[in-house]
Each structure stands twice: as C-alpha cells, then as structure tokens.
Symmetry: D2
Subunit: 395 residues, 4 copies
Amino acid sequence: MTDNRPHLRVAMIGHSFMGRTHSQAWRSAPRFFNLPLVPEMAVLVGRDAERTQAAAEKLGWAEAATDWRAVLERDDVDLVDICTPGDSHAEIAEAALASGKHVLVEKPLANSVEEAESMAAAARRAREFGARSMVGFTYRRVPALQLAQQLIAEGRIGEIRQVRAQYLQDWLADAEAPLGWRLDKEKAGSGALGDIGAHIVDMTCFLTGQRFAGVSGMLETFVHERPVAESSAGLSGTAGVGRGPVTVDDAALATARLESGATVSLEASRFAWGRKNAMRIELSGTQGAIAFDFEDMNVLEVYDATEPARTAGFRRILATEPEHPYLEAWWPPGHALGYEHGFTHQVVDLVEAIAAGEDPTPSFDDGLHVQRVLDAVERSSLNENRWTQIQTPTS
Amino acid sequence: MTDNRPHLRVAMIGHSFMGRTHSQAWRSAPRFFNLPLVPEMAVLVGRDAERTQAAAEKLGWAEAATDWRAVLERDDVDLVDICTPGDSHAEIAEAALASGKHVLVEKPLANSVEEAESMAAAARRAREFGARSMVGFTYRRVPALQLAQQLIAEGRIGEIRQVRAQYLQDWLADAEAPLGWRLDKEKAGSGALGDIGAHIVDMTCFLTGQRFAGVSGMLETFVHERPVAESSAGLSGTAGVGRGPVTVDDAALATARLESGATVSLEASRFAWGRKNAMRIELSGTQGAIAFDFEDMNVLEVYDATEPARTAGFRRILATEPEHPYLEAWWPPGHALGYEHGFTHQVVDLVEAIAAGEDPTPSFDDGLHVQRVLDAVERSSLNENRWTQIQTPTS
Amino acid sequence: MTDNRPHLRVAMIGHSFMGRTHSQAWRSAPRFFNLPLVPEMAVLVGRDAERTQAAAEKLGWAEAATDWRAVLERDDVDLVDICTPGDSHAEIAEAALASGKHVLVEKPLANSVEEAESMAAAARRAREFGARSMVGFTYRRVPALQLAQQLIAEGRIGEIRQVRAQYLQDWLADAEAPLGWRLDKEKAGSGALGDIGAHIVDMTCFLTGQRFAGVSGMLETFVHERPVAESSAGLSGTAGVGRGPVTVDDAALATARLESGATVSLEASRFAWGRKNAMRIELSGTQGAIAFDFEDMNVLEVYDATEPARTAGFRRILATEPEHPYLEAWWPPGHALGYEHGFTHQVVDLVEAIAAGEDPTPSFDDGLHVQRVLDAVERSSLNENRWTQIQTPTS
Amino acid sequence: MTDNRPHLRVAMIGHSFMGRTHSQAWRSAPRFFNLPLVPEMAVLVGRDAERTQAAAEKLGWAEAATDWRAVLERDDVDLVDICTPGDSHAEIAEAALASGKHVLVEKPLANSVEEAESMAAAARRAREFGARSMVGFTYRRVPALQLAQQLIAEGRIGEIRQVRAQYLQDWLADAEAPLGWRLDKEKAGSGALGDIGAHIVDMTCFLTGQRFAGVSGMLETFVHERPVAESSAGLSGTAGVGRGPVTVDDAALATARLESGATVSLEASRFAWGRKNAMRIELSGTQGAIAFDFEDMNVLEVYDATEPARTAGFRRILATEPEHPYLEAWWPPGHALGYEHGFTHQVVDLVEAIAAGEDPTPSFDDGLHVQRVLDAVERSSLNENRWTQIQTPTS
C-alpha cells in the first residue's frame, strides 16, 4: 500500500498566535481527512533566526528561514501561508503569487482598500497560471456555520430580511491592558473594526450569499492611552517606556443594507466585559430564523416558521452528528470540536480546491469586499454617520 | 380594625389589551402591597356603551361610561388612567390634568414631539396644583430591571461605555398577518419604532440615568400591503375589504450616543421570527456588565470585572428573593412573576408617590425625551442616516 | 345584559402562603376566563379572629370566621378550599364532603396513606351526591406542562422509556435557617419528600398517564437541629427558645418504575444551593423527548426523533401563544405568565367541572396514589432501599 | 539549540475510535506544552496486518505490528497505551507492566472486579521498579472540571452534601441501531453502566476526593434484540446475519453514598433522545454548588452561597482564560477547546509524572474502585435494589 499522492509543500510566514493555529491545522488535517495532496510542513519563516528556529521545532516545521523573498524563489515550496500582521500581507502575497505559489493569507486581506484591490488583481492574474489564493475567514468552516449556510441556501428560512451580527470581546476593557501591535493603526489598519468586525462582515456575506450595498457607521475609542508593554517596543508613537497612544477604534457600530435591501446591524467591541469571543449572528428570513454564538460554537439554533405555532420554537441543533459538515472525520455525536478545527477544515478545503484545479473561497475578491465595507464604515464615521455606498466589486 | 385610609378613585379610558392589563394591576396591587391609599376601580370609559358595560363587568369596574369629558368633570374621580391609542393621549391627558386629576398615560406618551411637549408643559403646570402625572413604561418595574438600575446606580459596573438594546418580536413576520391600528401611522404615530423601540429608549435612560445626545437611524417597512381585517375597519386608506397599505415602519435600527458619549445600538423589529417578546439590553461599563432578556424576565445577568479572571463569569441572578425589589410582597424564591406584575408595581409606585405628594417617574418629561429620540431616528432615517442631535430637554 | 350565571360560594380555610395564592386565583379567574359559575369569595376561616379578619380584608374575602365546622354547616357555602397544613386535611375534607360541599384540598392530600385512603373513600361516596373533590397539584396547570401532557398523549414522543424528575430548592441549605412547621413530622408528615417530592410524583403520573409500580428510596436529613424561630413556637420537641430537632427528611432520592416498566429517577432536595424552585422533568420515549424546568416555566423543550439527524434538536417552545393551553385568555406571545397562573387555571378547571357535573382531576384517588408512592419511598428507605411495591389503587 | 530531552517511545494497541483520539493527543501534546520527555509515536499494534499498516500511516505511527507480546519485549518501547475493548485490558496491561513498561489503559480499567484487582496489584508491584500506570478517565483533564476540582479542594463550596450525576446519550434509542461489541457482555463487561456510568463514578470521586461507601442500583435493557451489523460478526450469540441479543444494560440508575455520607444520584443512559454526550454533574455543598454539562464543556457554573442573596447566582465561568488549567498553552479567551483536548492533557500529565518519577492519577487503584462501584450496582440490581456496601480499597 504505497502512497502515490503528490505532496503540497508549505511555507508559513509568521509564528505567533496565528502561526501556532495554522501549524496545528496543517498537522491535523491529513490525520483525519483523506486529502488528495499530502501537506508537508516544509519551512517556517520569521524575522529572528533563533526564535524562528525554536518555533519551527516546537511547531513541527522541517526548516526555519528568515528571508521570505528567498523562500518564494524555492522550487520546493508550493504554497505560502501568510500569518503576519496586516501591513505586510499585500507585499508578500503579491510576490508569492508572482512566483507561482498558491497563497493562503490571514484575514483581514489587507489594511486598506488600495492594497486589497491590488492583491485581488494579482490573484486574478495568477489564477490564469493555476496559482490559487484564499483569505482565511475560518469561521466559515465552523460546522454549525457551514450548516447554517447550507440551510439558508436551501431556502429553509426564506428570503433574508434582517441580519443582526455582533462580535464581542473584553480583552481591552481593562484600561491598563498594555499597548500591542493590534492597537497601532500602521500595523493593524484598524482596531475592532478590522480585527473582529471583518469576521461578521464576511460571515454575513457567506451566510446570505450577498454583498453589502451601503453602511452608516460609527467608530469609538474609549481608552486613548495605554501602558507600553515590552512587546510593544517599536510601535509608532511609543517612546520606549511609559504610555503610548491607541490609534485604532475600540468599538465599531454600523447599520447596513445588503444588495437585496435586507437590513444589517453590526457591532464589534473589545470592551464588552464578560464576552470573551461572542461572535454572534442571527438572520431572520421570510420563513424562519437562524442564530449562532461562537461561545457555544457547536450549536446552531434554527426557527422554522412553517411549523404550527403550538410546537414552533428555536431548535438547538448540536452540530456534531456525522450528517453535519466535516463531522464524519471526527468524534461521535456530542463530542465537541474546538476553535482550531475551523483552521483544519480550511486546510482541507484549500487542499481539495488546489487538487481539483478550482478556486477556493473565500477569494481575494471576497476579502476585498470586506475591506470595502470596513472602509465605508470608517468613512461614514468621519462623515456624520452618513449613508455610504459600497463600491460594486469589479470582476 | 377599621381601615381609615383614603381612597383613590380611578377612571380608566380604553379596555382592550392595555385596559385588561391595567385592570389586573389596579385589582391586585392592594391585595399584595400595603398601599397608603385604597384604589377604587370606579369607572371604565369606552366608545361603545354596550361593549364598555360588558368590559366593566368582566374587568371589575363599578361603572361604565362613554363620554370621557363628562367623566373628567366628576368630583368622585381622582385619577385618570389613559389606555387608548397614542393619537388621543395628548387631548385626554391635558384635559384630565386641567381638571386637577392625576394622570397615568400608556406609552408612548404621544404620537409626536409637539404633542409630547404640550403634555409635558401641562404636567408641569398641573404639578403646581398637586396633580401628578406618569407615563407607563412598565418595564422599569420588572424586578430584575429595577435591580439592574440599583446595581448600576451603586457603581457596580462602573461608568457605562456601551449599551446594546434590542426589542424583537415576530407577530408581523407573516406577510399575511392582517392590518390593525398599530400599522396605521395616523393612529399609532409609528410602527416598531414607537411601539417597542420606545421601550428600549426609555430603558436605556432608566438604567443609565442619562439622556440621549444624538442618533443615526434607519427605518424599514418589509411588507407594504396587508389584508384588511374586520377589526381594521376605518383605518386610513383601507377601503372596506381587500388589502390596505402599511404606513408605519416594521423595523427601526439606530446607532446613538448618550450625554456621556457612551455608544448605544438599538434595534426594534416585529419581523424577528422566533423572538416573541425579546426586550434585551446589555450594558458594558468600566467595571462590569449587566444583561437582561424579557423572554426570561425573572433573571438578571451580572458580570463583575473586579473578580479574579479564574472565577469571573456572568452571574445568573434569579430576581425572586425577598431581597429583590417588590418581591417581599409575592411568592417564595424561584416562583416566577409574569408580565402583569410590572403593571401592578407601577400602580404601587404611582399610589405611593401620590400619597407622599411627590412626582412619580417616569414623568411626562421622560416621555417627551423618548419622543424626541424616536423623532430624531425618523428624521435621520429620511436624511441619509445622518447624525441627528436630540434637543436638550427644557426643565 | 344581565348576568344569569349561578354563583359558587367559596369558603377558604387557611390564609398563609397558600391562602394568599388561592385568593389571587379565585379573584383573577373570572376576570380572564368566561366561567359557567361566578365564584364568590365568601368566607375566610382561620384560627385567630383578629388575624383572620385582617387577612380577609387584605385578601378580599367578604367575611372572616374561626370555626370551620360552623362554616361547613352554612347553606350559603358551596365549596371548601383547604389551605391548612397536611395534618388537618383529612378531618376537614371529610367533614366538608359529608356536608355536601365541593372540596379543593392543597397537596399533599394527607400526611399518611391511611388518611388519604379514608379521604379517597369519602370522595367516592360524596361523588354520588354530586359533591366534587380535587387535590391541588397546580403544576398540572402550568401551560407548558399542560402542553407536554397533550403532546405525550398524542404520541409525539412515542412510548415513555425513562423519566428523570428533580425538585431542587435551597431554602434550608443554610444550617441556621429556623425551624418551622414544615420541619415537624407531626404537622408536615414528611420533609422534602411530601412537600416537593409529591409534585414530581404527581407530575410523572400526569404526564405519562400511568401509576407507579414500585420504588427504591433513600431519605436523608443533613441538619438535625435548628434554631427555634418565634413562629415555630409550639412545634413538637421545641422547648421555647434555643434549638429544636428537625424530624423530617431534607432530601429524598428514589429509583422507580411505572406500570409499563419505564424507569424513573426522582430527587427532591431543599439543600441544592442556587436552585430556587427547580422542578424539572425530562421524559425520553421511543420517538423523542420532552424537558421542562420550572425556573423557566414558560418554556417547554421538545425533541422529535423522527426529524433527520441533520436538523434535529431540542426545540425551545415558548408556551405563550394563543394556541397553547389557557393562553388565549392572557397576554400576547412572549409576555410571561408566573407562578400564580397555575392556581388561576386550577380554579377555572374546577369550576368548569363542577358546572358540567364532572369529576375534576387530579382526584383524591390521584392524591392517594401519590401518598402511596411517598409512603413506599419512606418504607424502602428504612429497609435498606429495598424494592417496594406500590399497592394497586382500589377504584 | 539542541534538544537534549530524553524520548518516550510509545506503542499503542488498538486503532479504532480511542486509537484515533489517543494518536491526536500524542501528536499534539508536545506542540503546545513543554514536555520533559519527547513522545515518539513508535509502533501501532493491531490484529490485522494490512489494516494496522494503513492506520499507522494515517494516524502517524512510525511502525505497525500485529503481535503485541512481541512488542512488549522490545527495548525501544517505553510505554504501552492500551486502547482495546475491556476484555483484553488485564492481560495486556499486566504483561506490559511485567516487562517494565509504563502503561496507560483506557477506561474502564477492566470488565470485572477480579481483573481490576489483579491489575491494581500488578501496578503496585511494578511501581517498585519505576513502571507507572494510569487509567484513562480523561474527563478529569477537561479544564472546566479541573477547575471544579480545584475550587472544591479549596473549600469554595464547603463540605459536599449531595452529588447529582448523569451521563445521557441517545445513540441506541433507535431500536434498529445495530449490534456492536459494546452491546456484548463478554467484550464490554456491561453496557451504559461501564461505558459511561464509569465516567460519572470516577468524576464523583475526582471532584469530591472521596470513595463510594455503598449503592442501591437498577439496570434496565429496553431493546433486547437488534439487527446484526457486518461489523458485529463474531459477537457472542450472533448467528451470522439476522438479529442478535443485547446482553448488556441500556441504562443504569443508582442511589449512593460517599464515605462522608453525602448522597449521590447516578444515571447513565444511551436512550435519552436529544442528549448526545450530556455528562452532567452538580455538587451541592454547605457553602455553594458547582455544575457542569459536557455538552457545553468549556463552561463551569459556580454558586457561592456566601454572596448576599441579592446578587447571588450561578456564575457561568468560561474556562478559557490563561488562569484556567492547561489554558495558557492554547488559544485566547473564548476560543473553545474540544473533546480531544482532555486526551492531550492526559498525555501531558502522564509524561510529566513519568519524568518526575511520580505516580500519575487516576491510578489503577482508582480504576479498581470504579469497578467495585459498577459491580455493586449490578449486584444490587439483581438483589431487589438492596443497599450494597463497596469494599474498602486495599492500599
């Protein structure tokens, strides 16, 4: 029983939180799923040689490297997985695509619409030569949300009229929590808006199959100065020790419409005490509703309005049955999946698309659209919350 | 043991849903609470003599009458309880106050800011002569929400940074649900906005102790025409049978700020399938958070951020202990109160204020402020969602 | 429009917790339901003349009296509502039935099987003469539980295989909570077993339509001595002040079977910190399951196993729709009912049965069966938990 | 930066459900935790050469083998991980210990008390020579339950008075679900009792730090015959195709006491429709309570009775903070762990104990005690549910 499957040699750039998560996904996917290509954790790229070497050993990458441009030149690398902060996404992704590599880039796609447009154009060009690109909105691969998408696509709740989406965390609610790169506009592009707001924008598109038409938005920064942590060294505006300025939003609120006219309320906050990772979305349609909360991530709640009123009610579906997306590969019913499984499923879907010669989703165009929505929220916020159209995606 | 307490003779105008609810409150309050005045259910006023007589017997009012102006002239009436649709509130309330009666008026105070201003002015004038006035935002008297207000006032969650409030129902989500007066702008003033949005606006003010500074709003009507029900006869625009136009909003969304700058997201909808009466509010402060959902109305959830992270979590307080507001008068712990108890507590607080010669809350000024917020939402909605200041209340 | 309905003149004995609750029910029922007989709150009977008079005024009874035997002789009393502690139920109920009165007696029916048998025999004799009798297991009249019974009777969850029932409170978990009559075996018969265990035994019978076949039981008293409260004066074994003995169980556990062989687990405890009135029952059948928790009393959870696994899940039915039992008389969907509504519904069903000349349920025979189950639990507990058959009810 | 840590070479026997789960744990543990020994997935042992080879490749084991006795002889194996059905545990574990290997054996320890006693004795002997043994009750390593244990040990809820434990699944509720080895008494020892009941017995011991003193038990088989699946071939009593007998219990109920006298109610069922893996435990102490449900496995609910009644309530702790057990190695707050993480943590604790020269827990003595409780439940069930003492563990 020889394994004749071709290999897919991966280089990953970045090895902090996202790097650790992606490593677990690359490692686990082939152990549970029958992949058409065998992923090889070939090379880990970081800035510091010693720390990168240590990370490579710890996370299970065959090699360590510090020059990502050199890695892109290598013939023995097929795919580049970009886990760096948003300000370097465009440069690395475009270079990788130009080298003919497949690219997976963490969300948000970029820090600006301009970068995102350039990346999307690069992805379209590379597609001609068979290089695939994907942006890492992994919540699309949570089984309960995948199920939600299927049910909506099947018409189970009819036409969508209203979406309510929140992404609530509390890790900055303590005014003395230290500055980090995520609070620096130059590194991160924006705050809650791009970090977690991006997820609910993408999730709304994914679940409804629609784009946003326009938004009215409001951004707010509650804490304007924070203690500089050692790890914050080098952030713009921080002078060694003491306190430094927060240059991004702490919370973002928006009222929006989809192409169909459906209304959307959006709220992203890192100041919602007690909410640790409450990515919540509820969609009300003409025939029912669907609700999800990531703090109870294996559950999908579905209301079927065609039921007689006497027995109608939100049904709490524990999305851990073999009939549910991705679940056949895992554990028996009721044995929960966790955060990292979305990343594993992302690897599965990406590898399958590459092997099939198809474009994976979410595409860079999808990522560009999210960027446009975030940008419109920001512009509206600076313009008396005024209604701001979202540019139609070029295609 | 003779009862020397003075009586408070009540005339109630209107006997449909709210009339039934208020009747149960007037009947129950003196049975559970030691009131300083003995309420007398003296006279019920309606338009149709026969139906009003039947309602008076059924609901337990001593007399029935059809001419509310005549009732206001009577010396044996001390208080007028106005349960009619919003378009008649101003006229009746002002006349009652002019007659020296105390007035309780159902929410929303009026159908327009102009009417509300006029009523508030009338209330201020009448106060000089000892006539008290109150607007019926009864959710303030739900024990769990009363507890919330106390905890916030005590500083338990610090300064409020963010409010998230929703009021979700689904009774109009069926596009074939019939027209009724609540869908007629002339009768109801607005749709979801004034009917249920008013509650979350008032609740935000009550819990934070603040007024709104401004809003950006959006209104939406999903279903523009509905079958005319028999009971809809006479509504504007309905021509006997067939279908008639919906002239109010089905859903209202807003992003707002309080005087302190705290952000508020508001959503009122009658199209949220599966949500029957989900009046939800969550307040995040500098030191914690509080959350409530009327569908589980005896519960308050409180997060105390001064707890060590290891044992911090939302505490589910079942607000049915004798230590909780109003509860000593009722049942043992865990024996739920229902919707009507808020109305009974409203009677208790109103009667106590009258006996003490104090002004009850929420006042007509409070009602006027709510009206101004609703009006600003509507104007913003017609003006590209633009930020709209709320007029500072005159005092 | 004259009201020609006959009246039903009620005498109530006892005016503490249950007396207050029953008063609210007698008062409210005719205001919301169209009853065939008009209840009259005629006379309240208590031991102390002054306190009874005060209670009658407060609770709304026309007269007060202290000699219950004299009241039973009166021609202007049609029904006797017994709200005294269990040790007096048998004597009063049998005398009332002998006088030809209808009888409603609070649960548990009696403090012993012997008394209960005698009462059930009396009820059977009285039935011949048209006197009706009912035992007050009011949880049968909670809409969500009434709905549960209907769904089970319709076969929605198939044949019942397993019942899990708990009744958890915590009002005695504090070892310094004072002695009261409910801790005195002579007054109360038993502790958690008869007070709250009785409810889950009856609820199991009600929902399954079956009797118990046998049990294995265990009783436990955690705190054997408690401070004597002023109000405990006169309890057996208490010598004025200081501490007195607890002579009843604090918790009761049992494993049982119904006639069909279905298994039942029962647990009643007043020591379950944090559980205030958690009367919970879950029934698993061949085709589904039903679950209920009184701490969320307007909700019924239903699992339909005939659903495809992909979309199956417990459905959270908010039993507040007009389609639900009793609800048409009350408020709009989502507007919760409370604890007292079960008592109001009990009055409705009792009055309707009397008017129709039918025997209401639960009957004294039903109450006797509960008593037999409680007795068997106690005997098993004293006999190494050994399996103990329940005597087949005579009929 | 050379890695000088010694390796721990593992041989795993069995590669179905548990084998897959253990493989993921051996693979993941060193990637997230700093282990003192480096685990090597050396050899996978199965009965069928071809299938074992395929499994080894899929699951990431360096070698495959079919003769477990030969593997025990190898010098290059340090630890044997036994994932076979219970009937082979004793033979393999004792042989492995005799060969000086460390042993991890899946729960339940054995299929009978006799086997378990023999294994515990072997473990005690082997300990002298430095061979460590552990039984795989992995739920002890779920962070929320580990936290529960710590809080109880710290006295947070005082002395335990009552334990309520359930383990509810529904995978056999369909009477046409096929026969498998878990329904065969010879292979599995018992049904729900040993498979899932064992977990709640062990969890009770773990959380309370106590042993069981005695039980009263009841076993039930609802479906006595099932279709023979292909995979059931060879089970005792099955004649090729058609239907075969179920020889184990479908549900187990027990009422028990711990050494301290605390009461325990236990229920294990595979027939609880809608409950997929509801391993639930609630402990009520003198000063509070703790509750857990595996279907929401990242949450621990804690009630602190020393709180004032006004603000007391079950606190919903999301056990995903860095302050929680094992969590520092994983994701940010609110990013859920899943079922498999308990197994990863088990590897971590086992490896650390081996490196430290300490005995890991749960020990074979712990596993033996669980076996004695299961045995007592079974004997009680056959003896009119009579109270059955648990033998004091030899030590």
